[in-house]
């Protein structure tokens, strides 16, 4: 075997190795991409919470949307009941405010953290009203806690 043929073998071997590495990287990327398809059969992020007439008291819990809908003189607001620590559903505490049953995070009635491991305040989501007078919550849009949907 002369010098050139051994060079060529060496080169082809390296080329093959590089192709294998490239193929593995491509396969890994393709698998990840495949697993993150934008298909979801979960419930819509836009939830119909029912007719506005339902929300006359100062706080109503809508379980299937995981929201506390509050009402004050300025209008309606919707606060998420999902704890910002690890995603359990908080409940109203006997002494006012909210408490998470999983790891004991506590929040005041505006959703500000008052204790426990929660890293952030409870989030508020955007409220809308449809033409039939139903209250709609858009779970994908968070708003400041002071935001209100004005109602008649």
């Amino acid at each position: 075997m002369d010098e050139h043929s051994s060079d060529r073998r060496n080169f082809l071997g390296k080329l093959g190795g590089a192709a294998l590495v490239a193929l593995s990287a491509e396969a890994a990327w393709a698998s990840l991409r495949f697993a993150r398809a934008p298909v979801s059969y979960g419930p819509s992020q836009r939830r119909n919470l029912g007719h506005l007439d339902r929300f006359v008291s100062s706080r109503v819990y809508v379980g299937d949307a995981g929201l506390f809908v509050g009402r004050d003189s300025k209008g309606l607001s919707a606060m998420s009941a999902t704890c910002t620590h690890l995603g359990c559903t908080v409940r109203e505490a006997a002494e006012g405010g909210f408490v998470c049953p999983c790891h004991g995070s506590t929040y005041d009635e505006h959703g500000h953290v008052t204790g426990g491991p929660a890293p952030r305040d409870l989030s508020h989501v955007r409220l809308l009203r449809d033409v039939r007078g139903n209250l709609i919550a858009d779970l994908s849009q968070t708003v400041p806690g002071e935001a209100r949907l004005q109602v008649g």
Partner: protein, 383 residues
């Protein structure tokens, strides 16, 4: 006719029932299952104290889980509308359905415990040194797979316990910096635990993870054989290099019979447990109501206890660092002293460090299991 049937039988086994040492060696070499064993073995390796039988018990449990798991798959439907109801069918309609589910549940719990004990024993005997470095890493991978199988299996009954344990667990994954939320959605296939998550966990639990597990088990056993079986102390007769001049005994019947006895004892114990203790099934999963307290299975309660202080440090950093530390151990601790003995003087510090890690895991698990009440508040009297 009889001869014809006999010829079929002989075509399967090739070697008859071994009646002397020569025939037993031949038998060990000619059968697929038996050739995983050495034809001859050191008598010391047969003693219970040499292995605590932990590796074999883990393997037997994995096989029991495969068999009971396949049975459960005939009735289980991986969809939120049907999953919980199919558990009820198993409990009330399917003959021996409860027994099968109980056996599957208790074997899974036992496997987590026994694989951990196996790791402890191998650590104590320095069974990760020299040529065994990669096999220790394979063992750590098997430990992780055992936990991953438990975690994915935990969701399948689709009761309150399952739903909230996996909600909490997947939100820990979301605490990973930068990629956390993508990682969580990769596992769940959606924004929250639902139809996609149940299907993903089902496929991982029944197909992907067991396939990887048994591939690594094959590697694990092969390497044990190639490394000459158990580690041997240099002080033991014939220890150190080779087995020259030391009396070996044939694996048939000495090893094979012992393995059969262990298998029978494990099976009988599992059956007794499955008859005695009922696997819990809570109310159907309800995303709007979190039970109080919401607890993961006991082997994750240590992590949940840590996560209660901080989702990232307790739920991600400490478990990941532990796993990485265990995997790198054979490449960090390369001292050759004390191999093959459980409590050698030369390894006091290494043993103390590992004991501290185990104690830390045990204490957090016990606190999380027994001393945490509603809203994860401390309570001094276990309920």
């Amino acid at each position: 006719m009889l001869n014809w049937l006999k010829s079929i039988w002989n075509s399967l086994w090739r070697v008859g029932w071994p009646r002397d040492e020569r025939a037993s060696v031949k038998a060990m070499l000619s059968s697929l299952l038996l050739h995983l064993h050495p034809p001859k073995i050191r008598p010391e390796s047969l003693k219970f104290r040499a292995t605590w039988a932990a590796g074999l018990v883990s393997l037997v449990l994995a096989l029991q889980l495969t068999v009971t798991g396949i049975y459960l798959m005939f009735y289980y439907i991986p969809h939120p509308d049907a999953a919980w109801r199919s558990m009820k069918d198993l409990a009330f309609v399917v003959p021996l359905g409860t027994l099968t589910r109980n056996a599957h549940r208790w074997a899974a719990h036992a496997m987590v415990a026994i694989v951990t004990v196996h790791m402890l024993r191998v650590y104590m005997a320095s069974g990760y040194k020299g040529s065994r470095q990669a096999n220790w890493v394979a063992g750590v991978a098997l430990w992780f797979l055992t936990l991953a199988l438990s975690f994915t299996g935990y969701l399948l009954p689709w009761d309150q316990l399952a739903y909230w344990a996996v909600t909490v667990g997947s939100n820990m994954a979301a605490a990973v910096p930068l990629v956390g939320d993508h990682f969580r959605q990769l596992i769940l296939g959606d924004r929250s635990v639902g139809e996609s998550a149940l299907l993903r966990f089902y496929v991982l639990h029944c197909v992907a993870l067991p396939a990887i597990l048994f591939l690594i088990v094959g590697f694990h056993l092969f390497r044990v054989r190639k490394d000459g079986g158990l580690v041997v102390s240099e002080h033991a007769p014939g220890g150190g290099r080779g087995d020259e001049g030391h009396k070996l005994v044939p694996a048939w019947p000495h090893l094979v019979y012992r393995e059969l006895i262990v298998t029978l004892v494990v099976t009988a114990t599992l059956l007794a447990l499955a008859l005695w203790l009922q696997a819990p099934l809570e109310a159907e999963a309800d995303p709007s109501r979190t039970p109080n307290p919401a607890k993961a299975p006991w082997y994750f309660l240590g992590v949940q206890e840590l996560a209660h202080y901080s989702a990232f440090w307790g739920g991600v950093f400490v478990p990941a660092a532990t796993l990485l530390g265990l995997a790198l151990l054979p490449y960090l601790d390369t001292h050759a002293e004390g191999v093959g003995r459980y409590l050698p003087k030369e390894r006091r510090i290494a043993q103390a460090l590992f004991a501290a890690l185990l104690l830390f895991m045990a204490v957090t698990t016990v606190v999380g299991t027994l001393f945490r009440g509603p809203a994860w508040a401390l309570m001094w009297w276990p309920k």
